[in-house]
Amino acid sequence: MTDIEHTIKKEEIKPPVVHVGVIGWIRKNLFNNWYNSLLTVVTIFFLLKIVPPFIRWAFIDSVWNTPSQACRHATGACWSIIPHNYRFIIFGFFPYNLQWRPLLAMIMLFALLFFSQNRKHWKKPLAYSWIVGLFVMGLLLKGGLFGLKSVDSTQWGGLVLTLLLSVFGLTAAYPLGVVLALGRQSKMPAVKTLCVVYIEMIRGVPLISLLFMASIIFPLFLPEGVTINKILRAQAAIILFTAAYIAEVVRGGLQAMPRGQYEAAESMGLNYYQTMRLIILPQALKIVIPPTVSILISAFKDTSLVVIIALYDLLKTTQTVLSDPRWLGYSREAYIFVAIIYFLGCFSMSNYSRKLEKELSRGD
């Protein structure tokens, strides 16, 4: 094949200067019409009023690692509250010299999460790693075996408790939610009604009412002399709550499955459980991973509510530090620190969820 001749002269003409480069970008994005130009000017004005004073308070005039008296003299932010108290904020009442254990547990958790990000790793070994990992994390926290000193659950607190409530909460709520969703789809009226009533009731009430129930009413359900500690009760409430939301999300996935899948499985002779386990659930659950991550993010944020029933999660340990007379009055700094922790957690999860959604919709 001969080369295609270029019989037509092709000049190298450059686009007009005002349309490209930095000037072009500014013109197109900030000033492309009178309306946007006005907006840009007004916005820059407000930014100039707010940002420099904030930077001065947070960074320039601030103190970073001084004893509390020095804070009183500083005009800027007193970030010293963090270096002096972070161990209590993050680990709660866990014995001081044993805090390597919850730290190790958290590192394991993050490692597992990080590793689970890549969809190529989603095979059986990963599931087993998680099961073993969760067991080891529980062991590190509780102790009592393998020479580890036993630590009572009332001493678990801070970020450790927050992560515990969220991770175990979602792990236990997930199978329960799937069962509820299947039950709601069922043709058996008794089962369907029970599931619908449960789901709609739990989704209709605020989480705080369930936490109150856990805190005050669960003890009444138990026979005389039997007690279950408060963390377990709160965990149960979070599980029951999250399961209802997962059930709705999974129901969406089940409804998105084409009838043809059910019919193909039926014609192969598979029974109900085989159909669900081998054909329907693997596909449906994959479809609803993004909304499920979104529920995990909500669960992570909602654990902060246990403050109200006096459990020492991340928020309550922070408030305890703030009630110390030495550190009284630095709520802004402390809350900003905690907000950053929550933000990092939620942001990375929602970012991951977006990335995942894109990959799944592309059909990889």
Binding site: N29, L30, N32, N36, L39, T40, T43, I44, K187, M188, P189, A190, V191, L194, E200, M201, R203, G204, V205, P206, L207, I208, S209, F212, M213, I216, I217, P219, L220, F221, L222, P223, E224, I297, K301, D302, S304, L305, V307, I308, L315, Q319, G329, S331, R332, Y335, I336, V338, A339, Y342, F343, G345, C346, F347, S350
Partner: protein, 390 residues
């Protein structure tokens, strides 16, 4: 030929009978569990000498409530206290919903703006405020009040008649005057007039094709009628301004720190989610729709009104109602900062009477009613607005 269609099958192989059997087992197990829990509960309640039943609603409450929309005192009944709480919940939720919808819509539209600066700032707001727990945001704003803001003596005075201090926000309001009643009547009359004008303008357009500037005229009427009435009634300008008396402000309208912190936290948090809902709704209308409408020669305003909004609203309204419900449920966090909403009052009642089951049940029932109402409205809207397809 043997007909096997109606042959009786042993019941353990018949799917229908198996289903009934399975359901019976399930109901039995649930029933047994319920029986176990209930019998324990009755026993424990008797043991701890806790009363049962709703009789306590008539008893005297003997606690005060900080803010109330109706008259209430420590001598009022628990029932009345709970009503005060419910009204407070409705109060903060309604105001919250209105502000959230406005702020959320602005943020959502700003996120889609072609102005890079505005779009990025909106994105930062949405991302940051979605990812911080709402309770933390409440505590933060509440702490701003009692730690950062000055005492009433040195209150911030950003605008004439507006005072911000650690006792709350006070601002001037017009003094009650008969003119206000007339203005309200004028506004309602204006609404009716606007409705009639719209009908007339539509008929006229159908008949002759001429377009009437309905929007501008309606705006003029809704603003102008009350304004003219005000001027005719003597243009009363007397304001009730907050004045520092002793240790606090009297006069004008006062909002407590609890109320403002709750409102700020709820609004800023929920509006971030509403912004995403609005953005998704607008983006759900494909670009081709705008292009087709513009190719017909329609102006941008008409493209928005006739083509984009009808389609976008169908996608926006269901999740929007869901967010409004979330805001109402999140208002229960008021118990953590001391605003007397329904849960707060119920909590105090439970502490005093010990009747936890009735108390928590009342809370659940109230919010269930809100949820079911919202679901019903949403289902009705979805049916009505559904796009007709094959």
């Amino acid at each position: 030929m043997k007909n096997t269609a109606s042959e009786t099958v042993p019941f353990w192989l018949d799917p229908k009978k198996r289903a009934i059997f399975f359901q019976l087992i399930t109901l039995c197990m649930v029933g047994l569990l319920a029986y176990y829990l209930i019998s324990n509960t009755i026993h424990n309640l008797k043991r701890q000498n806790i009363a049962t039943g709703l009789g306590f609603l008539h008893k005297e409450s003997s606690f005060e409530i900080g803010e109330s929309l109706i008259s209430y005192s420590a001598a009022s009944s628990y029932g009345r206290a709970l009503i005060v709480g419910a009204l407070n919940t409705l109060y903060v939720s309604s105001i919250g919903i209105i502000i959230t919808v406005i702020l959320g819509t602005v943020a959502g539209v700003a996120r889609l703006s072609t102005n890079w600066l505005v779009s990025k700032l909106a994105a930062i707001y949405i991302e940051v405020f979605q990812d911080i727990p709402v309770l933390l945001q409440l505590f933060f704003w509440y702490a701003i009040f009692y730690e950062t803001l000055p005492s009433p003596r040195q209150a911030l005075h950003p605008l004439p008649g507006v005072f911000i201090c650690n006792r709350g926000v006070a601002f001037a309001v017009p003094k009650a005057d008969p003119a206000h009643g007339y203005m309200a009547i004028a506004f309602l009359t204006g609404c009716v007039l606007v409705y009639l004008i719209r009908r007339w303008a539509n008929k006229r357009r159908d008949k002759t094709g001429q377009l009437f500037p309905v929007f501008r005229v309606s705006l003029a009427i809704l603003v102008g009628f009350p304004l003219v009435t005000w001027w005719l009634a003597g243009a009363p300008t007397a304001m009730s301004t907050p004045k520092l008396v002793g240790f606090n402000f009297t006069g004008g309208k006062n909002f407590s720190p609890e109320f403002i912190a709750l409102l700020l936290g709820l609004v800023l948090y929920t509006a971030a989610f509403v912004a995403e809902v609005v953005r998704a709704g607008i983006q759900s209308v494909s670009k081709g729709q705008t292009e087709a409408a513009m190719s017909l020669g329609l102006r941008p305003g008409m493209v928005l009104n006739l083509v984009i909004l009808p389609q976008a609203l169908r996608v926006i309204i269901p999740p929007l109602t869901s967010q409004m419900l979330n805001l109402t449920k999140n208002s229960t966090l008021a118990v953590a900062i001391g605003y007397p909403d329904f849960v707060s009052v119920a909590n105090t009642t439970i502490n005093q009477t010990g009747q936890a089951i009735e108390g928590v049940a009342l809370i659940m029932v109230l919010y269930l009613i809100f949820s079911l109402l919202t679901s019903a409205i949403m289902n009705w809207y979805n049916k009505k607005a559904a796009l007709v397809e094959r």
